[in-house]
Subunit: 452 residues, 4 copies
């Protein structure tokens, strides 16, 4: 059976991920992401109103024109988890393919919401949504020979999976995005046992497509429970403070939000989740049963209800609450930045604590904005606790262990540019792979034929 | 009562700490440290054989000649904990003062060993050693008005204390060195309650001398239990590995060593502590009852017994052991570096794990040596896990909380150079102190008169 | 004669410089600057409309309330050169003092323009302006004993001087801001001979107040002719390019602008200076005879004439012009950034060259904005040449030579925060000065009495 | 005619360069270099006594075993310039090939000396040496169709060339190593005119192999005359100093050495070149007529004559001399480091100047050693001037201009690892090349068939 892989997007950047795998006549697309930084550099761009070709030219969404060179029918579009760089282009590109969106429950729900937001002007979207849980499989196409399985992985968003395409030639493991977490929060450990089985069963692994984001960092990415331990240590240390405590984190990081909520309760404060995206992710996770927040946790998305909540907090006493807000990257219009500017009813006073449970994404724009945000907060008297965080991506030793578990015949580094691939290539070569032979360093828009 | 403070050493560097406080006719000296880097820059220097004046000229030990300007009798020499930059000059300088060494039990023991090592050529040392536990007090001098108390603190070595001199004018709190740890390993949390009491009782705190090492780092230093959690996460993740695992850390950091020992046992390996300094610190701690290692933990200090142990490990199988060795800074002659060079019987093979439970002390010499060490280890096939560590020094928010607890009338930043004092000065000024009034930024060899 | 120095502003930051020296009954104020970054952090702040007290609270202008503690009459307000951090608060503060603004011709002119811009709403300014050239002196007050001299220095703006107050107790040299340039562009070398004389004559130098901006950088700051050489090398290397070449630099840096103009001519292009501030500084310099631009150099300040010029360039061919524009720090609304966004009639095409004859001022906000600006320019196809620049401030060896030349009795580090003072203090101490004795490390708002 | 390129060494590192080009039946080898850092990491390694296979295993010299896959006869071994990473393996590998060493005069001479040093133990070397000047050509093999030309380029060593193999399929340009210098010192500008001709004539350029060392640095590498200008500015600024002035630079960088010599004379000091490698490179250059040093310039290589010279300098007065010594990277046994340790008769005193006309090669080992060296020098009172240097390698805009001049059909990035190739790949892709099609990103030991 012919096996071909189209590396469509996310091979020259982090963002706009898209990869298609053809097994015989059947094609599966993994991820359709958005590179938000290519949008934000322009003033006044509204992606909802833009045509996909313009977004392709901007480098914001994958250039899927290479798909016309791939002979076969797209049977499924498979976002691996709910981050925008994996689902953000579905609203723009999926309608070109007569195939359902197949994803884990939380990812399906986020994709639906994203599509609704983005297509309210065009209304052009009519792909089906098919829910599939980690551990489950589905048949792909009519050959009866190809099956797709979801393996549970751990990342900085819940319900992430790695899809595996079982073909007669061996398995194709699409490894984006994950951390090897044996003691995560809110969910099961990564299913390494299944990965090891896949590495040994049948023809083994034909090809492994891997997320290289942190390949250049030594050691292993710590567990989410390590960030949780850090959060607890931090929040406990300010338990006696009788003024305002505010926290910010990635709104999509429900495990982290739930830890903050829990420790807020532990020190006798009512947690309130504020902002549209906070409400969206945490609300969705709770509705789907991934998390069970205490009854008195407030979630407020609309500007008016947020303002009302802030007024209530000021009236009832800041010492009774712990607002969890957006703004961890210092985004100029996010809630925390506006709080620093004194634009909300919540008054930051001398000694108030602000907890950044996030790392600044290392890029000068973010660093500049975050610096401004912290300066504003400090001008109000805030005390800053930052980098209470662990990454969602494997580092060098995680990659070493994944290669060891899967023993793939071919490897395709992904989710980075060439510079980012480089430490991964060094690792793979030290394990016997050879660039140009079984280690495929590639760019956006290429086709790799593994079996002819 | 006149109160005067002589800032003798460690006010222009980290290293060679020494401060004297005069209360009326009585003087207490806090710390007498060695700045090892001023020694190591020279080839072939042996401090044991050197005269104290030469070591002073080298900048290696405190220049205590300013003591002659201090009218009063030295009643005690008080090392706060067992690190060399606090006890390393006692063998060279203490004999000039007719006063006992007063310290906590672990510190006393380490000081004794240090003095024995250093004075075997001269034999000149005859100060008494007086043991005093955290929580205890002793009377200073004959006035009946001055008392010294030890308050338990948490640092990167066990049994650290902050001495407090109670005088009729208020307390003088000597704050070197500490982290604010509410869940340490092997010992009690920092005694913040006592600090808060001292801040409120009597005349409050007249002066606070503070360790500024990490004052410029945002947030708080995490607890030792956070490093322990990180270690556990790391060691558990390689539980299934059937080859060699080696760890290195500060040999004086007995809490850390004990965590490594414990997790080694958890994954079914016998821990062995190798190297003279490993044996010294851990052996001493065990003898004094600070730690209770499992019976089968080996400790071997002499070169011959280390080699014999390595041979035994190679024979019985590396998968059964977890050697804990020196060399975390890549020191050229340390055990781990020699292992990287293939100079020991222990053979590092492809896939073997090396755990650095330490941070490179940020200075180009260390960074160069550590880089070389890692390169050598990787050339043997080693996989590196590094920076599994937390600092022993307060960061910005710890300092904020200490000032809040003590409410001192005067503050003297210490344990840094001027650049290192600068973030602390910013913090103190934001809390209402003023440089030149009640915030004393000073250099080595100065005298500050607080009460005339 | 009593000598007292008030360190009013710029002793905790770079920006809002202000120092007052009292000699007997007479006071001279050196500099009254604006810290622009404290203004820009806020949205929508217009300094022209703000009261000085609000600007003081914002940390934007010097808090001159300490002046009321200085007994004596202000005889002169002396801005040393035309940069905003030295003249920017004159419009807000000078009217409180019954004293003329005394400055070198270029500085006078820029100060007048600044005052006119800022006081058009209030109209409150009525201090006299007194022009004084480098090398000249004037009598201060009625004692007949105090004289002020201007010594010519070299900086990143022309006509900079160091004022020297000659008193019976010795000279007070106010050393802000300078580089030691022996082969500058458009003006004479720094007058080191005069400094050496001042160091030897009469009672020598009582006090030296020094600009520490680059004290922590090794070696010496190269001459402006070094930047000029770099510019020439760069522009010559693209001599054959037949598309657009654009340059940006500090608009106040007339020497640099004149070098760009000259090399543009050399490669057969017409230089055009675009933007309000380009026109202001270069126009003023030309009117005062500091520079003689070729006849065909265009200068256009108003938006409309800039747009008209861009249209003409596009019509007559970009290969015939070299526009010099604002935007070297990536300021969001500056000309070059707008060119990157495609908001001007000048179209940047593939291969066009953009020369940044400036260094990014190292602060995350600037770095973020500059990064964005370069990204936008590159998206249009621009080729970037950056850091074609030398600093205007002395480095370590320049400071060493100044101390050697002046042999001052007292030194006061300025124009930095405490961290920035720290390498200067190390240098001064290595030359025998001692902090707290004759080396005065201070903060904003302090008074130092040198002679009682 | 078949054209094949073997990328043998220097495609995964900087060091051990070696590339072979086959045109029909004829093969030319470009460079045979040594990666010194792979040797120095080991204690006590003497390359002279080592077998080539051991050096290959150490990663020190190119693994030329791939040459057996290349069908054809080696007709020439062509080192492009005299740096060790281009000639250092000739003594170990060239004897395997029945072909002469063809190089420019200075390179030939240095290669001969290197071979003599290295083969004194084995005596195995008997390849011929053939001198060829830039601008000359020679016929390769018997086909009558292949010619080799040397094009003059500018680098950090004199007499560097880029060899061009003219084949019926187009030219193969081997672009290692160069800077685009239009105003170099001691030699002619880079011959860009010839490169542009080669790009246009016949079949144009089939393939360009390029030195990517600085591809990731913005802008252009300045001319050597820029470093010379910096040197002059620096040395002039200390013209009046009446103590010791010492300079260090790359001993192979004869242009730089000659500038130092010249400016030493200008300020009335006698230059003396000290150390074996200083004598070797400068002596050779003078003998070959590349430089004409003043008659009184001393050159002393042997330890004894160096010591004698230092003694003479101390006797006749340091103010009359300017020693130029080795040790710019802080190498522990180099002259300058030994001077810092006080191990030579030259006494560094307070205020003496040390000029580093070099940049620290950015690697932690070098940085650590250089830091130690500067610390030692400063402990003697030395004043440090550093980074008076320009690189010998093209930056981004030089690469842009080379591609523009040559318009090659294929490009092979070299002289870096994959991370180092990455910015070059971005540049080439922005110019229309495509990885995997006409842009060949490769590793050591690969074969690229350009024409079948």
């Amino acid at each position: 059976m012919e096996i071909e892989i189209a590396t469509i997007g996310g091979y020259e950047e982090v963002g706009r991920q898209m990869t298609a795998v053809r097994a015989g006549d059947d094609v599966v697309i993994f991820d359709m992401g958005l590179n938000l930084s290519q949008v934000l550099i322009h003033d006044n761009v509204e992606t909802e109103k833009m045509h996909s070709l313009d977004l392709i030219d901007m480098g914001a969404i994958p250039d899927d024109r290479v798909m016309s060179d791939l002979e076969g029918d797209v049977q499924a579009i498979v976002p691996t988890h709910g981050h925008l760089d994996h689902i953000g282009a579905i609203s723009k590109l999926a309608h070109r393919y007569d195939a359902p969106i197949v994803a884990a429950p939380f990812t399906i729900e986020l994709t639906k919401q994203q599509v609704e937001d983005e297509t309210k002007f065009s209304g052009s979207f009519d792909n089906d949504f098919v829910k599939m849980e980690a551990g489950e499989t589905m048949s792909i196409g009519d050959s009866g020979n190809v099956e797709m399985e979801f393996v549970h992985v751990t990342h900085s968003i819940i319900d992430a999976i790695n899809p595996v395409l079982h073909t007669p030639e061996g398995a194709i493991v699409y490894g984006l995005d994950k951390r090897m977490d044996h003691s995560p929060v809110l969910e099961d450990p990564i299913d390494m046992e299944r990965f090891r089985e896949i590495g040994r069963e049948g023809n083994g692994v034909l090809c492994y497509i891997e997320d290289c984001t942190n390949a250049g960092r030594k050691g292993r990415t710590p567990s989410e429970s390590h960030a949780r331990n850090h959060l607890e240590d931090t929040i406990r240390s300010i338990e006696d403070y009788d003024g305002g405590i505010v926290a910010t984190t990635f709104s999509s990081h429900v495990s982290r939000v739930s830890s903050i909520v829990e420790f807020a309760k532990d020190i006798g404060r009512q947690p309130v989740l504020l902002g549209r995206s906070m409400e969206k992710y945490s609300g969705t996770a709770e509705r789907l049963g991934f998390v069970d927040f205490p009854d008195d946790v407030g979630m407020y998305g609309h500007r008016k209800s947020v303002d009302r909540t802030f007024k209530r907090i000021m009236k009832e006493g800041k010492e009774n609450f712990l607002p969890v807000v957006t703004g961890h990257q210092g985004e100029p219009r996010a809630m925390l930045t506006r709080m620093g500017r004194g634009e909300t009813p919540y008054e930051i006073e001398d000694g108030d604590k602000v907890i950044f449970s996030a790392r600044v994404i290392p890029e000068p724009t973010n660093e500049g904005q975050r610096y401004q945000s912290e300066r504003l907060l400090r001008m109000q008297g805030a005390r800053i606790y930052d980098e209470i965080h662990v990454s969602g991506h494997l580092r060098e030793e995680g990659h070493y262990q994944m290669i060891d578990a899967l023993q793939p015949q071919h490897i395709i580094p992904a989710h980075q540019d060439l510079e980012g691939f480089s430490p991964y290539v060094d690792l793979a070569e030290s394990q016997g792979y050879q660039m140009g032979r079984d280690l495929h360093v590639t760019r956006n828009g290429n086709m790799i034929q593994l079996v002819e």
